[in-house]
Amino acid sequence: MSSKNVNTELKTRKLNETLLQNLVTLGILVLISVIITALIPRFLTYTNINNVLLQISLIIIVGSGITLLMISGNFDLSVGGVLALAGVLFAFLSRAGVPTFFALILSVIFGSLMGALNGTLVVNLKISPIIVTLGTMYITRGLALIFANGSMISSGLPGDFRKLSNTYFGPMSLVIMIVIAVVIIFIFIQSKTNLGQYAFFIGSNRETARLSGINIGRTVSILYILVGTLAGLSGVILASKLGTGDSSVGDGFEFDVIVAAVIGGTSVAGGKGSISGMVLGAMILGVLNNSLNLLGVASYYQLVIKGLVLIGAIVLQRYIVEKFS
């Protein structure tokens, strides 16, 4: 069999399952968008769409890492805290005179370190990911509050503090470019690297992975570090946009990220998932939030809806899986 044949057959077969799932998700997205545009034409304006995209950009960045982590069967509830802390650190360091660029890098690295901490506690000390990341969620949130003295660091910041979020290349903002880059990189990791494949192996059948010689600890640690790094990156982006290091941001962020991943087809139990799906899921979430805002629905209804959507997505996913086996 010639390798050209292998290529084409491969492409058609592998694309089928994920493509199908993503088409369904896309369909839901389109449906909601159409309904909303019919109700409120204001939805389909450039400024509004831009708004939505910016809002979900952070979810997509962190979601890329979380999707891989969930595929391997693990969790990270601390991303919201890391987000806040990285932003606060960024402001703190900048105010203390560290050149903005270095402050940025250091804050992102700090996110990586938090990820490494999570990884060590989960892998080496063998503590349940739920407990570990619940604990680090509070630790990072607490540290953010401490460094920001209970609220936020907004004064004494250098002029180029907001540079990151204000940079545009033509009509395209740097932030959007970062988002796209992250998504491309992580889709690449997921489908074209050993690391991504190991995540699928570990999440699909941990014991088989162990017996097949996969170094589970190393893979999971790397995934946690990646998530932490992305959370740190998101934190500095947000701080840059807001112009302050706000210790109260990111409340519920971990939940949004999980919802986006699950809507996109990532299974909570591991072994299944896709980043492209998560992106679509984040878009659905964003469009949903935006629609409710435009309709004048109070923000707290969104909490209820988000929770119901998560539960609904999980049940629907399971139903589809059972139907197709």
């Binding site: 969790f75 506690l121 000390l125 063998k126 503590i127 349940s128 739920i130 407990i131 570990v132 619940l134 604990g135 680090t136 969620m137 509070y138 630790i139 990072t140 949130r141 607490g142 540290l143 509050l145 401490i146 209970g150 210790s247 519920g252 939940f255 999980i258 699950v262 909570v268 139990a269 109070a298 707290y300 209804y301 969104q302 909490l303 209820v304 809806i305 988000k306 929770g307 119901l308 998560l310 539960i311 999980i314 049940v315 399971r318």
Partner: protein
Amino acid sequence: MSGEEKKVKFYQQAYFKNIFILLLLLVFVIIFSIIAEGFFSYNNLVNIIRMSIYPILTGLAVTILMAAGYIDLSVGSTLALSSLVFAMLVKANISIFPSLIIAVLAGTACGFINSLAVVRLRITPVIATLASAYIIRGITFIIAGDQANIRGLPESFAYLGRGFVGPVPFQLILIVVFVLIFYFIERRSLLWKYSIAIGGNPSAAILSGINVVGIVSILYILTGTLAGLSGAIMASRLTVGQKLIGYGFELDVIIAVLLGGTSFRGGEGSIIGTVIGALIITILGIGFNMAGMPSFYQYVIKGVLLILAVLMDNYVKARLRKVGAG
């Protein structure tokens, strides 16, 4: 019985763990008495009792829930919901007792939602209760409308959380009554025994004919109910109904339960341990406040404490495996 076997028995009994955390409690009390002025005063002790009642009551139910191997991250939201409901009903001129009942039932309803999500829809407890936490918090906000607080409540409203029976705070009586009830449950009830079985060896539990679905449902409903009661008491003590309370409450409860010796993976639990753990958490909070440490420092300490509690539990278990039979 050889000496080694005796040692194993000793470790495994809850007594060992309970004595350890009791000592820990005493250490904290002593430290805070030294560094915080007025810590060991009568007023403060009453305060401690009043503030520990929430993690104690909720923790009693969560102890059994975690012994069965399940978790509930929504108790903070339930707390807020019931506190708001209680205040709103009383403000609407409904008498105290029926309002209280309804507020507690609101908590029961939350527990029921959780039981549906976990047991009927078979969603992982972490995700399910995370989702319900948001849903319940959202419902709380919706009910509250634009008001953040509900004030202007009658005197009688405050009795639950601040009243006395003679020289003794009413809350202490509540604590004692509930702890006794749950201690009795721990020693004698099928609910406790079956929960341990479910957490220890789920397939053995099923084969023995235990109705796992029924038991776990009851546990979630019980947790919701007690969280509801705690919320009503909190509203009463603060004499205001708030929609913004309860953040981080689930963390307090989980830490209290884990410190008390209940295993996160299930199969073990201790009511007395949870009470001691809840006291430790409460004292930490109050003590740090009095020592002038801002409340947000406590987030860090609690997060660390949570991880340490589990590490300690793992360590004890690992030691047991080395000593014990196999």
